[in-house]
Symmetry: C2
Subunit: 230 residues, 2 copies
DNA sequence: CGTAGTCTTGACAAATATCAAGGCCCGTGG
DNA sequence: CCACGGGCCTTGATATTTGTCAAGACTACG
């Protein structure tokens, strides 16, 4: 019997592919019942907004696949990408504090997200203290990420920043594959121009340390780690 | 009857000068009793460490006066200041998650802090849900600050960054007075060299938009806001 | 007094931004 | 089907900014 595709009901949440790493991983079955029928699945289409900065925020989102960039703007029109959300990351936590969304959340790579109304989160929060801890961990993880972007991705030469970005995005094990980003987005993450990002990437490619195909980047992590020290 | 100066007991917490804005502002008197005798007052001496990155973290700190910089280091020896804590700010929240401290916390301007052992925080947390909310707010505020440093203080020319830094540090009302920072620290906040920070500050001084005396900076906020747009 | 550290300034080198052009891919509409 | 336009990436030439190195002034401190 087919279910409505746009909704994730109780059994779907139990079967969630990222259940172990999800926000609700610590919840008991009885708690999950609260969620029944309240969580909407959102297809992530590249270029579309998941939400926009300044909007009143009534939901938190869990990314279950794909990539979302969080963008902030300066009064003069400049912008910076301040975070990248991937599978199992949580977006829009500021909603739980009744604050408006702080960023534009824009899809970079197609995937799927779940929309969790804050009332549901509040309800679960009241029942289950494990969720507190998990929420705190999410905040901390976002903060730690933001600070790493300051120290690693906004410091040093453009080449060093690009290297650190690739290292940060790529798998630690395996042959270091990383998702694909446009040079424009790389520039916005690193605080350099598109051209500088392009030149740095081209240089690494010529040196054989980095490659790119339709699926994404690959890199020689060890060799790159070597080059970021000097 | 004098009390031991190094300790802040119950009555001191009630009389705390930052009680309204402190972490414990939402607590009832009965809750505060838990705190009795467990909170240590720490004098903040410029150049000294409040804690160091990597240390196992057993306490959270509340700043009650003075300034503390949070510093992170890159493997190559470079460093960035990723946050500035002032009166009523909370430091070392990662301790509540049993994580080691993420920064070196170094005093910039003399003042006073309170050391709160995590056991105390846990105890209060179990009793009083208002504290959850307050902790979340603290995480969010730190995150939001970090992201602002990315977009405002790590983007654009050195002059623009200095202007945004001064605007961010200075009082919104009044004649825009801001605490004093060394050029070296300004550089480490902005991701530019000491010399670049110095030149930018000197230029703003010559233009009459910024001044400096023993107490700190002062500035013409409106004129500066004008110059940061172009 | 020296000494060490910071701030400032200058001269120069290096990195980056800016402007411009060409190639490539892809979707659209004639 | 093909021509066209719009993005995006790349590369080059040039201007601007920033980093680097060095020196002198000044302050704080023993």
């Amino acid at each position: 019997m087919p279910r409505k595709a746009a909704w994730c009901d109780l059994s779907d949440c139990f079967a969630c592919t990222i259940r172990d790493s999800a926000l609700f991983s610590g919840l008991r079955e009885a708690d999950l019942a609260v969620v029944h029928g309240a969580i909407e699945e959102i297809p992530l289409r590249p270029g579309h907004w998941l939400y926009r900065g300044g909007q009143s925020a009534d939901s938190v989102f869990t990314v279950r696949g794909g990539l979302v960039k969080l963008v902030q703007y300066l009064p003069n029109g400049d912008h910076r990408i301040v975070r990248i959300a991937r599978s199992s990351d949580v977006l829009g936590l500021e909603a739980t504090l009744r604050q408006p969304y702080q960023h534009d959340a824009i899809v970079v790579q197609a995937g799927l997200a779940c929309r969790i109304p804050i009332e549901v989160l509040d309800e679960l929060n009241a029942r289950n203290p494990a969720l507190h801890q998990e929420l705190m961990r999410r905040w901390q993880s976002a903060l730690s990420e933001a600070e790493a972007w300051l120290t690693e991705l906004s410091t040093g030469s453009a080449r060093h920043r690009v290297i650190r970005l690739v290292l940060r995005l790529s798998d630690e094990q395996g042959r270091g594959s990383a998702p694909l980003f446009s040079r424009k987005d790389m520039g916005a993450m690193l605080g350099v121009t598109t051209e500088s990002a392009s030149r740095a990437v081209a240089e690494l490619k010529r040196a054989g340390l980095l490659g790119e195909d339709a699926r994404g980047f690959w890199c020689d992590r060890e060799a790159l780690a070597q080059r970021v020290t000097d």
